[in-house]
């Protein structure tokens, strides 16, 4: 059975369930009596098991099965949640994650049986309740059987046929083909019901024609059905062959069918008008008993668990209601993105064409305005599709902090806000590691141990905060702790020791400059190297990663009170607003985000400080950069009056002297490719309306 087409769904859902389990088990550790949590865990484990089984990953299935057993006993109140048990469960989740990663890379789960883990799980079970292990499994079986038997009763006769369908059926019968009613029931444990149903549809359609399906084919595809669906099929095959086609699909519990007798169908009124309302009512009526049946069946399973609370839902009944997202292939999005890019280029050419011919009618301008609004909207909506909440990344952090708390033997809590803040998919994928570095850093270097905290009059449990929010065109993520803060003296000493700076230099450095030393490669102040950090690989990686995403990172720290790391990221990377400037006849784009003001400066106002050109602008001394010198080109500006673009990054400002300004333009960023590497302050290129390429100046790199 080929299940590869479902691999992607399987992986996505598995990851979702694993994440859910991680979160829930964390909750369980905090509140071991919470029945809702336990039920949620049980459900997730059960779904995982089912999915792994469907896809044929036996090892994964075994492990989840044993986990499920443990949860089931916990749910029944036979086992109390112990701290050791939580540890074992977390190890199991790690093992499952490993399976998932293996599957993602090789479509195979690997060969690790994780026997020690399974043994540990069984030990937990046996310690408390050896013989009860069988109970839940046994309870499921009779239920399945009863449900399957009761539902198979000629449901096809209850389908309301409309005239055209009746006509088709009659025609088929005249033509010597046979018409069957079929009722297919899928096994309760099946997770990808829609997939199974689809396979049944496909198998039958290869050898016949499906006239009616109840629920409709669309609903079946969307998994809007319980466990069974009814078909009316025209085929040349014998009944048994048709039934065999369906039963050959795995995880089909039963297929009941017979030759359809039109007169027996509920709404059969030859050549008469059909009343849709009645048909709908009929369908509803038919659906009801099934629901009751399910509930009954479900009560039999929950009966042993009665004392653990009656709020149990049926495990793995279809898709979870929460987090109903549409998964979109990122490649498709990229194509869409490129199309939009083209559109913007087209718009730009129109704009430049209109600039050439002033005497054009107003209709032309209206067209451009229309095109502009369309492209802006299209851009926005495509951007929104690309945006995903950072939740998927930050969700794993509570678990990480818990583990860190154990390994470092420090008590700490992580508080997160703004998980719903959205960022470009590519950024979200990349941001996980830098954030993890910063959190580890806070946990290891930032927070003091409990003793010291008590002495300092702080809460012995350290706090780490992760806050995300949107700020204009940027998203800000802050990692904050109430620990020791950065000891600038220690950093200074270390830097001198390492020869990074001299003692004299250190004297003159501001606090901020000293903190910036931390971002240099292989600089670590931790006295001892721990598992967690202190190897000196970290902050420089964080910085370069964030910068590669066109973001920036800043630190604010107060000794004894804690530090705050602020990551600022652009909302999007693909299309930006820029100011087009001319330098020596060449066009360059500067991101509007980094431009503060544009000034006209007289050449005579330029002063020299330390042999560098600066201007005094409203009390601020701003260093100047002559772009033509930087870009190795002759300036064509001979005026006394210079155009200076003031750019800003954090606290730093600089004035870029350019020849001329063209204006504001929305541009599509194109990569220069890997062949051109040398140029640090060119961040990319864009294609202008006239088809020419203009380079994008990275103002951040100039500062």
């Amino acid at each position: 059975m080929d299940v590869s087409q479902y691999l992607e769904i399987f992986l996505d859902e598995t990851k979702e369930h694993l994440q859910n389990l991680n979160t829930q088990i964390l909750d369980l550790e905090a509140d071991s009596e919470n029945m809702d949590t336990i039920n949620e865990i049980f459900r997730a484990a059960h779904s995982l098991k089912g999915m792994a089984g469907t896809m044929g990953y036996k090892r994964m299935q075994n492990l989840t099965h044993d986990m499920e057993n443990v949860f089931s006993e916990v749910r029944n109140g036979n086992i109390k949640v112990q701290p050791e048990m939580i540890d074992v469960l977390f190890q199991c989740l790690d093992a499952l994650e490993e399976y998932t990663n293996n599957i993602q890379q090789t479509a195979d789960e690997g060969t690790n049986d994780n026997e020690p883990l399974i043994k540990m799980l069984n030990d937990i079970l046996n310690k408390e309740s050896g013989k009860k292990e069988e109970a839940p499994a046994a309870a499921e079986k009779p239920q399945e059987a009863s449900a399957g038997g009761a539902e198979g009763d000629k449901k096809w006769n209850e389908i309301a046929l409309d005239d055209s369908q009746i006509h088709v059926i009659e025609e088929a019968k005249k033509g010597g083909q046979k018409v069957y009613g079929l009722n297919v029931t899928i096994q309760e444990s099946c997770i990808l019901k829609a997939a199974r149903a689809f396979l049944v549809f496909k198998a039958i359609e290869e050898n016949g024609e499906i006239i009616v399906s109840n629920p409709s084919a669309q609903d079946v595809e969307d998994e809007k059905f319980d466990r069974d669906f009814t078909l009316i099929v025209i085929s040349e095959l014998e009944l048994n062959d048709v039934i065999k086609l369906a039963t050959d699909v795995s995880e089909i519990e039963s297929v009941v069918g017979e030759q359809l007798v039109l007169e027996n169908t509920k709404n059969y009124r030859p050549l008469e008008e059909e009343e849709p309302a009645e048909a709908a009512a009929e369908a509803e009526e038919k659906a009801k008993p099934v629901v009751v049946e399910e509930k009954k069946a479900q009560q039999t399973t929950t009966a042993p668990a009665a004392k653990s609370g009656g709020n149990d839902k049926k495990p793995a009944s279809g898709k979870p209601v929460v987090n109903r997202t549409v998964r979109v292939d990122i490649e498709k999005l990229d194509v869409l993105m490129n199309l939009v890019s083209e559109l913007i280029i087209a718009k730009n050419s129109l704009v430049s064409a209109s600039g050439l011919e002033q005497n054009n009618s107003s209709g032309f301008n209206e067209q451009i305005e229309y095109l502009e609004s369309v492209t802006t909207n299209l851009h926005e909506s495509v951007m929104k599709v690309r945006m995903v909440p950072i939740e998927s990344v930050v969700n794993k952090f509570p678990r990480m902090i818990r583990d860190l708390s154990k390994t470092l033997n420090k008590k700490m809590e992580l508080y997160m806000t703004g998980e719903e803040t959205e960022l470009d998919r590519t950024v979200v994928d990349e941001i996980g590691d830098p954030l993890m570095h910063l959190l580890r850093n806070s946990a290891d270097h930032g927070l003091e141990d409990a003793e010291l905290r008590k002495q300092r009059g702080k809460n012995p449990v350290g706090s780490i905060f992760l806050d995300a929010y949107q700020d204009g065109n940027n998203v800000v993520i802050e990692v904050r702790d109430d620990g020791n803060g950065i000891d600038t003296e220690a950093v200074k000493q270390k830097a001198i020791e390492r020869g990074t700076i001299t003692a004299e230099q250190a004297e003159n450095m501001s606090e901020k400059e000293i903190i910036d030393l931390l971002f240099l490669p292989s600089f670590s102040t931790a006295k001892k190297v721990t598992d967690v950090s202190g190897r000196g690989v970290g902050l420089d990686v964080v910085k370069s990663k964030i910068e590669s995403l066109s973001g920036e990172v800043e630190v604010k720290s107060k000794l004894g009170e804690g530090s705050t790391w602020t990551i600022r990221l652009p909302l999007t990377l693909a299309i930006i607003q820029t100011l087009m400037v001319v330098v020596g006849g060449e066009k360059y784009a500067i991101s509007l985000g980094s431009i503060q003001t544009i000034e006209n400066v007289m050449a005579s106002d330029i002063k020299l400080v330390e042999n560098k050109e600066v201007i005094n602008l409203r009390g601020m001394v701003i260093p100047l950069i002559r772009m033509n010198e930087l870009l190795d080109i002759e300036s064509k500006n001979t005026d006394d009056s210079l155009i200076v673009v003031i750019v800003k990054k954090g606290d730093k400002t600089a004035g870029l002297i350019v020849d001329d300004l063209i204006g504001q333009q929305e541009i599509v960023i194109k990569s220069l490719g890997s062949y051109i590497k040398q140029c640090k302050f060119i961040s990319g290129a864009t294609i202008l309306g006239d088809g020419e390429v203009a380079l994008i100046l990275d103002a951040n790199a100039l500062l």
């Binding site: 083209e342 930087l630 870009l631 220069l672 490719g673 062949y675 051109i676 040398q678 294609i687 390429v693």
Partner: protein, 163 residues
């Protein structure tokens, strides 16, 4: 006509027809007085000379970037790379877009003449002579009738450190 697209299907079919002896197609270009051949499998496109946007602070042979149907492609002067006098752009000057592992790359050539098919027997493999800067770009000599064609080594052309 602005662009001459080269179909790779042609190459495949010619291979199918002559399975025994390997026959390779080369695009013959002219650089100064000499003729060079570029394996057609590496050629994506041949375009007319167009406005090249200069990129500052790069090697001299890297002339800049061009826009090829919405894609930004770096362009290299083959003359400068091979140590020949700088290009003089004429109406015959062309940019050959080569396919490389890291994306497309354009090379400026004086003239594109024709496409020749060479049998394996008419190609003489050549070892690299590091002394001669020109020769290190050539990995073989092809004999086409009475003419000799130096076959260019794509990797040597596209390699950056080769200056």
């Amino acid at each position: 006509m602005d662009q001459v697209a080269v179909s790779s299907g042609e190459v495949k079919s010619s291979k199918r027809n002559v399975p025994a002896a390997v026959r390779l197609q080369y695009i013959v270009i002219k650089m100064g007085d000499e003729q060079y051949g570029i394996d057609i499998r590496y050629v994506d496109n041949i375009v007319r000379m167009q406005n090249i946007t200069r990129v500052p602070k790069v090697q001299a042979y890297l002339k800049g970037v061009i826009n090829l149907r919405g894609e930004v492609i770096p362009v290299v002067s083959l003359r400068l790379k091979m140590g020949l006098p700088a290009d003089e752009y004429t109406k015959n000057t062309r940019i050959i877009i080569l396919k490389t592992e890291t994306g497309n790359l354009g090379i400026i050539v004086d003239e594109v003449r024709e496409v020749v098919t060479l049998g394996e027997e008419s190609i003489e493999k050549m070892a690299h002579e590091p002394k001669d800067s020109k020769a290190s770009f050539v990995n073989g000599i092809g004999k086409n009738g009475g003419e000799l064609i130096s076959l260019l080594d794509r990797n040597a052309i596209t390699l950056e450190s080769n200056v």
